[in-house]
Amino acid sequence: MKTNLKWLNDYLTPGLDLSEQAILDLAQQIELTAVEIEEVGQAAAKQDGLVVVRVDEVKDHPDSDHLHITQVFDGQEQIQVVTGAPNVAEGQLVILASVGSHIIDRESGEMVKIRKAKLRGEVSYGMLSALQEIGLPDAVCPEPIENGIYVFDEKAGVNPGDDALEVLGLKDPMVDTDLTPNRADLLSMRGMAYELAAMTNQQVQEQQVSEAPVSATQAVDQVTVTSASQSLATGVALSVINDLTVEKSPLALQRRLWTSGIKPTNNVLDAMQEQLLATGQPLAAFDLATLPDSNLTVRLAEEGEVLGQGDGEETIALRAGQDIVLASGSQVLALAGIQQDPNFAVSEKTRDVLLVAGQYNPSLIRQAARRHGLRSASSFRLERGIDRSNTQTALASAANCIALLANGKVAAGQALVGFNQEEQVTITMPLGRFNQVLGTSLTEDEILMLLRKLALDVSVDQGKLTAVIPGRRTDLRIPADLVEEVGRLYGYDNLPTALIDGQSTAGDLTGRQKKIRASRQIMQALGFDQAISYALMTPEKATAFNIGADHPVLALNYPMSSDRTTARQNLLSGLIDDVAYNVARSVKNMALYEQGRVFLNDNAATQPVEQEHLAAVLVGSIAESTWQPVVKEREVDFYAMKGRVESYLENIGIENVTFKAAKEHQNMHPGQTADIYAGSVYLGYVGQVHPEFLAKQKLPAIFAFELNLEEMIDVAKRDNAYQPISRYPQITRDLAILVDADLANQEVVDLIWQTAGQHLKTVSFFDLYTGQGTPENKKSLAYQLTYQDQNDTLVEEKVTKDFAKVQTALVEKFGAEIR
């Protein structure tokens, strides 16, 4: 809220020091004690040289149909100024930006210096200005800029030579505070006064206006009010002001409003707005004569009701059963607390005004304001919580203000509904609680002194503190709230700094956490950069690379963009997006991995199963050198990626790993994809992304894998078993066989292991040949078998016998030809 500190000083004794440095210090104190500061300063900013002048003479410019040559008097001398203002007239008091003055340029927002100028041959010593031209936003200026320059009211009490910025209130010191949702009390001058009084040790004077003349008829004889339910409003109060004259407000009121960000309109509404700012009590004013029925009702909107008349854009379709309306007979006057029907508004013809102050249900107001996209100063305050003990006082004060300003009379009394006696809020708590929570050692006196600064009525009895909470502090309800008040007023800077006393517990990673950390380390050692991609994507991407069965998509009910609607079920889609991003930026070689959650949803009514997955992509060259012929031409291929998976699985502790050709992965190359198993447990797959899939996005070949980390954490070994290295010699045998071209290596290796006997240590594949000399549909495979006995020297004959068994089995099972 924008707080005019000059206005605020009406409330404070002895009053704030308004010097520049004191205001900066105050702002700092507000930040450290209450809420954040958006801005400190004056609306005038660094503008200067703006002076009030009297227009003594106006002549048409001889060479222009719209320019005028004026002679203006600045209190000391006559000055010639050429102006294009259509409304300039002799005798007016207007604003002159004199030669050498600085003003904020309306278009650019930059500070500009005014210079002597020649306009079509006539010299102009400065510029006559509108409010919009000296830094006030269009939204708060009473007249549109097309109407011309600003003209002071004759009754404004200003004289030629006065500092225009000063008399317009633009030099008033302002503090614009941000607001936390709890501090609704800081949405009024009155609440702000109590807060700053606590910080600066001042006394608060409540500002109530009550001295207006009284009209002949009481309010209840002119209007009545009923409410459909206490749940719609805890109280609604009506006041009437009779026989008034609607006109422009005096400058003193107008400048209060425009510095606070509100556009002045007429004296009735301006006084009402001023009182809203002063008290925080939302108010609405109606032309009493226009109401069809003098009985007002507060109720929920009915089916088909609209606010406004006709069927133009000005009307608002109300939500039956949910919007609170204020009605006169069957006529809806307002969406309560949010918007009024302009047909019943106060106009120049209005003589009698109905003023309404309501305490509408905050939750319903909040929903309605959101629903209709209308947020007003009133709705905002109602949502956050107003001082319900002050509604009638605020209304009375506002009625008096309006009457005084508009020469009217206030009808005695108020028409009321609700206002059942509310229980006074008190908080009782052990005094020791303050130090127990804050870690301080404050004395009883210190605690009481701090709470009394906030004008709370506090007392202590047998170690228990009781505080009576004023209506404006809707945020103080439980002991912890008072602890906060003491803490912030004492100053968080003054809190001691400690580290938890008592028994110290050991912190340690769980086995799962250690495996996940190890998993990342291995991937990085293998050369993959860790990526973190977006978990929300399109439904197609969310399921494009799933391990195992597809699950129903987990879609947001109100997404922000069509790209991010669905929670992922695989990580590869995100990594492929990353590849595309890099490729578009001419990055050719990439090795990326990601570890993160996927979301598998089988029942829309419950939370999905979340699994940690690990996925990686390899793109481009994996060469380590840029120039050496042997290693230069290493484009990534299936085996490069498979080797990395093997190395990863070996290091993370997965045993009995097998790869099986997998043709059924929709977006993977059917001839270059393998499912990966640890024993019978399915872990995921490795392969080339389908060339068709890549062609659509114009991407180069991508080799990828995706693994279910949850399964791996379960099956991975958690120990390194040490086996002494055998002292006995190894014996090797080379095996070359000619087999059918479609026989998988895995089958050969499996058979070797099954038939090799107990001394076989390793089988290493070392040649694949399908060239010249191999018959059609055949291939030649070569393996080296290494035998070793852990405890004895192995004899040649034994190995020869074992080896022969392998050869025989290969011949029998696969029809292999031993070469």
């Binding site: 450290l32 912190g507 050369g527 950069d529």
Partner: protein
């Protein structure tokens, strides 16, 4: 010429041969020392000599043989040395050409920050809660909001606009719900609860340089019998000094979160603060929110707020990384440009 003279002449002759640079050493050996060599030839021809003469010629023959043998070995060694030198010279490389460098992978910068936070709190005896059961990214409205003292309709729900899947299920907007999931299970007879919960969170935001619909949070919580706000202040000072350097200071400002009371916003000094630094010269940067856990939150998780007090804080790794490295666009963290990722290597340690 006597046989002795002849033998002695061989030594001279062999020496001369071996002195030649490109001599075939083996040929010299065969010529002089071979079975059919010159020395053997001379020795064979002494059958007509007297015993004494034979003895003398035999002795001289052996001396000459040994001497030539020596010369040959010498020459062989010299030739081998020369050959090695030549080979090494031939193998000489331009050592300034680039090497064949295996590429190492890098840890994502956000992961690095989270790892650093985790290490710090492990050292202080905290548990890390990051498994899908206690820290799900898809949460219920109950745990994400209601248990955090944010009933439906609470105005503060505006502060964190939410991606809903159903009216009751949503993408978590904070890692705070992990607190409730852990608190309701903790056995306080075994001591206080000290935990952090790192993880992804989601808000209904339009992505731009400073907003991201996905970011990270590390929630911290300590519940015990005498936990104070001074403890919170000390804990936050220690983690901020860990992340930003030990000469940095923090300050606490009042704020509002529905799940803490009192609530504070925490600023860290942009520069180091020394005894000479004037308070007005310190530039403060807002980094996190914290507070004493609201009694309602404790109650909802089955903890007696009269007996126990607690503090909680929420750290933002994305914001820390932006501040620490001057990253100006939060989207960089999630686009995974390898030229971005690879700048954050082990040099940072």
């Amino acid at each position: 010429m006597t046989l002795v003279e002849e033998l002695q002449g061989f030594l001279e002759e062999a020496t001369t041969e071996l002195a030649k640079a490109d001599v075939d050493v083996e040929a010299v050996r065969v010529t002089f020392l071979g079975k059919k060599g010159k020395i053997t030839g001379v020795l064979k021809s002494m059958k007509d000599l007297s015993i004494d003469e034979k003895k003398e010629v035999g002795q001289v023959g052996n001396q000459v043989r040994t001497a030539i043998q020596g010369k040959i070995e010498e020459k062989k060694a010299a030739q081998a040395a020369a050959a090695l030198e030549e080979k090494l010279a031939a193998e000489t490389l331009d050592v300034t050409l680039p090497g064949a460098a295996p590429k190492l992978g890098t840890t994502h910068v956000l992961q690095q920050i989270m790892d650093e936070i985790e290490s710090h709190f492990l050292g202080l005896g905290y548990q890390i809660i990051d498994d899908p059961v206690d820290s799900p990214e898809v949460e219920t409205d109950e745990y994400n909001f209601e248990r955090e003292n944010l009933p439906k309709d609470h105005p503060a729900r505006d502060m964190q606009d939410t991606f809903y899947i159903t009216p009751e299920i949503l993408l978590r907007t904070q890692t705070s719900p992990v607190q409730s999931r852990v608190m309701e299970k903790h056995d306080f007879s075994k001591g206080p609860l000290k935990m952090i919960a790192p993880g992804k969170v989601y808000r209904r935001d339009t992505d731009d340089a400073t907003h991201s619909h996905q970011f990270h949070q590390v929630e911290g919580l300590v519940v015990g019998k005498n936990i104070t706000m001074a403890d919170l202040k000390g804990t936050l000072l220690s983690i901020m000094q860990e992340l930003f350097g030990e000469k940095h200071q923090i300050r606490l400002r009042p704020s509002y979160f529905p799940f803490t009371e009192p609530s504070v916003e925490v600023d860290v000094s942009w520069d180091e603060v020394t005894a000479d630094t004037k308070p007005e010269e310190i530039k403060w940067i807002e980094v996190l929110g914290a507070g004493m856990t609201h009694p309602n939150v404790l109650k909802m998780d089955g903890i007696d707020p009269e007996e126990y007090t607690a503090f909680a804080f929420g750290l933002g790794p994305d914001r820390f990384a932006m501040l620490k490295y001057g990253v100006e666009d939060i989207r960089q963290f999630y686009l995974n440009d390898t030229r971005f990722l690879e700048q954050f290597n082990e040099r940072g340690n």
